[in-house]
């Protein structure tokens, strides 16, 4: 696929901002995809950014008092409310700038969260903020479970994954529900920009963050963030797992600009999902039949997405 890089976007990893806004010394596990993704996001956002963060791995590994990994202004309030806090930050910066109480410079309000803080307990605040159309970016770092409290299932946990509250057993496949499709829920909110991303595709992710930063209005990025600890995989597989998620079609990379879908990474032929599942301990118990069920579902979801890409809504 031939790529076009509009001005301001990253073409090459060497052209990435050298400044670290998310600094070394934090306490994430080895090979944490979430920490890597946060770092990439910060690089793409740049200095004029304020971050609101809920309770979860990110908060815990980056801010044990009196240390902090953040070189950007950062605020944590509670678990369900990053989007609401972000709304307030945006409103505060806007009005103070208007009144001349802070420098007259655009500063982006960004709210972030894990999949639990986004898809479950925080979805009300998120939906509210998106619907109100704050000039804000929300990034979900989806590691597919409540990792901070010890790998409990969330509504973003995939079907068949074994977690501590949905364990696989003689009578159980593990998690019995299909992953909630948050990007679609956000598209339904008619926000200006929605994209999926993952920690293994740094340039793609950073460019999406940069695009979202420029959007006037609300933007949402859903970033699959590999969690070797919770996925029961070797830490060195972090990047490999992200790639496999994309190459198997389990986690397609696309963006939706004003309702128009576009793939940003297109694997030629999809690899079998088994390649992705078999390297993760959380899927170890699955039988060939169960893997087939997952494969069928992945195929179906992929076709649905293709259909949206191929049949965009008419231009207004």
């Amino acid at each position: 696929m031939k790529r076009k890089y509009p001005k301001g976007l990253v073409k090459n990893i060497k052209l990435v901002d050298r400044e670290e806004y998310f600094c070394p010394g934090h306490r994430a596990c080895q090979g944490c995809g979430e920490a890597l993704a946060v770092r990439l996001m910060c690089k793409a956002l740049g200095r004029d950014t304020v971050i609101a963060c809920p309770t979860g791995c990110i908060e815990i590994f980056s801010t044990p008092y009196p240390t902090t990994a953040w070189k950007l202004p950062w605020i944590h309030v509670a678990f369900p409310n990053a989007a609401a806090v972000g709304s307030g930050v945006e409103a505060g910066l806007k009005v103070l700038r208007r009144k001349g109480k802070i420098p007259d410079r655009y500063v982006k309000a960004v709210a972030i969260g894990g999949d639990g803080g986004t898809a479950d307990i925080g979805i009300q605040a998120l939906s509210g903020a998106m619907e109100r159309g704050h000039d804000m970016l929300y990034v979900c770092f989806d590691n597919e479970a409540y990792m901070n409290t010890g790998i409990q299932r969330s509504s973003a946990t995939p079907f068949g994954a074994s977690t501590t509250t949905a364990p696989a057993g003689k009578e159980s496949i593990g998690n019995k529900t299909w992953k909630k499709n948050l990007p679609e829920i956000m598209v339904a909110h008619n926000v200006s920009y929605v994209a999926t991303a993952t920690n293994s595709h740094p340039i793609d992710f950073m460019n999406k963050v940069k695009k979202a930063r420029e959007v006037k209005g609300t933007a949402y990025i859903h970033c699959l963030s590999v969690c070797p600890t919770g996925w029961r995989a070797a830490p060195e597989l972090c990047i490999e797992l992200g790639r496999l998620a994309v190459e198997t079609g389990v986690f397609p990379l696309y963006e939706v600009e004003n309702g128009r879908y576009r793939f940003t990474e297109m694997p030629g032929d999809l690899r079998p999902v088994e390649d992705y599942l078999k390297v993760q301990g959380r899927f170890r118990h699955l039988t060939p039949d169960q893997i087939k069920t997952i494969q069928d579902r992945v195929n179906l979801e992929y076709r649905k997405l293709m259909n949206k890409v191929e049949h965009p809504p008419p231009e207004l």
């Binding site: 240390t67 953040w70 202004p73 409310n81 009005v95």
Partner: protein, 392 residues
């Protein structure tokens, strides 16, 4: 120059907040504070103040948004009642731990269930230990005055804590009262510009709300406690200044005809005005009765209370909330404990009264005063007594 207006108290509350030139408000409607939200939205919509009014989707988000805005250095406001206050509870102790000077007006209302929209104090009493400065208004004028004072107290460098102003739902919020509304210049002179200490801005990046391990958590809690205890000094100063500017006196424990009183009633909020009438009546009947009105709930005014009950034989506390199976209603339990070490403490009786909007009349106060006097001799006493229960 202040102007004298006849105004619904909830509307006047919004006017007072507007006079404070807030930067950001986020309010979610709930009876009986809805008029505050609506009128404030109107004021912003008319461009009378330059503020952001965030129409949040819940009270949880209202306080959260206000915290985010306060983090940027904005002057912020929210309002709620009852279930809404409970919904905010998760965020309340965080506001005080982060030392963000948010101001909130609470139109006090009973907690569900059964669902009840009318007044009592069960909502705020449950939030007693959130680390907020807590004031109780007796009438519309006090709501207006206390809201303006609240910003000055909250933003004082020595305080830096959230403040709530309590007004009885319906009994105050929906009453049209004569109110002296200060003018903008007066408020500007009184309430200086808010100069936040540290803010969320990239020019000086800071981390707000870092998580605390056991080795530091106690110190943060102690700092909050020291701040709220010390806040009393600021509150008294602010009230002194208010009195000198506007001639209206504010005290943590206001006394009415307590000199030489044998029995003293104690109220919080709007019941004080009814109780005054009862005291006059009791005095006419030859009973030396008096009244104390508690206006400062947090920090608790130990010194003033002890002074106020000197020589009093019987103290009858009225509680508009229940501590089910506890050692007294929330107010009485505290007053008993505050006076426990006094060498000569009064006999204390506790009446749970006026729950969920039940009317409390002058006659009720007269009866309570008389019964309290009898209680002096009858022992042992119950920890608390529901007053005026049907069929009893």
């Amino acid at each position: 120059m202040s102007r004298r207006v006849g105004m619904e108290v909830a509307i006047a509350a919004a006017e007072a907040v507007a006079l404070c030139n807030i930067d950001v408000a986020a309010v979610y409607p709930i009876t009986p504070n809805t008029h505050v939200a609506e009128h404030l939205a109107e004021i912003v919509a008319e461009g009378r103040i330059d503020s952001e009014f965030i129409t949040v989707e819940s009270e949880h988000s209202a306080l959260s948004a206000v915290l985010g805005a306060a983090g940027t250095g904005a002057r912020t406001f929210t309002a709620t009642s009852s279930q809404g206050l409970l919904y905010m509870q998760e965020v309340m102790p965080i506001a005080s731990a982060m030392r963000l000077p948010v101001v909130m007006v609470i139109a006090n209302r009973a907690l569900s269930g059964p669902l009840n929209i009318w007044n009592d104090h069960s909502d705020i009493m449950l939030q007693r230990d959130m680390g907020w400065v807590s004031l109780f208004a007796e009438n519309g004028q006090e709501v207006v005055d206390m809201l303006i004072q609240a910003f000055k107290i909250a933003e004082h460098r020595e305080v830096m804590l959230p403040v709530n102003v309590n007004m009885d739902g319906f009994q105050l919020t929906h009453m049209v009262e004569p109110i002296e509304l200060p003018d903008q210049a007066e408020v500007d002179r009184f309430l200086l510009e808010y100069k936040p200490y540290a803010t969320l801005h990239p020019d000086r990046p800071i981390t707000m709300g870092a998580f605390a391990m056991p080795e530091i958590f106690t110190e943060v809690m102690k700092a909050k406690d020291v701040a709220i205890v010390n806040a009393k000094k600021t509150i008294l100063e602010v009230w002194k200044e208010w009195e000198s500017l506007f001639g209206r006196k504010y005290e943590p424990v206001a006394a009415y005809k307590t000199e030489g009183a044998e029995v003293v009633l104690l109220t919080m909020g709007s019941m004080g005005e009814t109780a005054e009438v009862a005291i006059d009546e009791l005095r006419r009947e030859g009973i030396s009765a008096g009244l104390l009105k508690l206006k400062l709930w947090r920090p608790f005014p130990f010194k003033e209370l002890k002074k106020a009950v000197k020589g009093v034989k019987v103290l009858a506390v009225t509680d508009r909330a229940v501590s089910y199976g506890g050692p007294g209603g929330p107010v009485c339990a505290e007053i008993r404990s505050a006076l426990y070490d006094e060498p000569e403490r009064p006999v204390i009786v506790d009446y749970i009264i006026g729950l969920g909007g039940r009317d409390v009349s002058v006659e009720d106060f007269i009866t309570m005063g008389k019964r309290a006097l009898e209680a002096k001799i009858k022992k042992p006493r119950e920890a608390y007594k529901f007053y005026g229960v049907r069929g009893e």
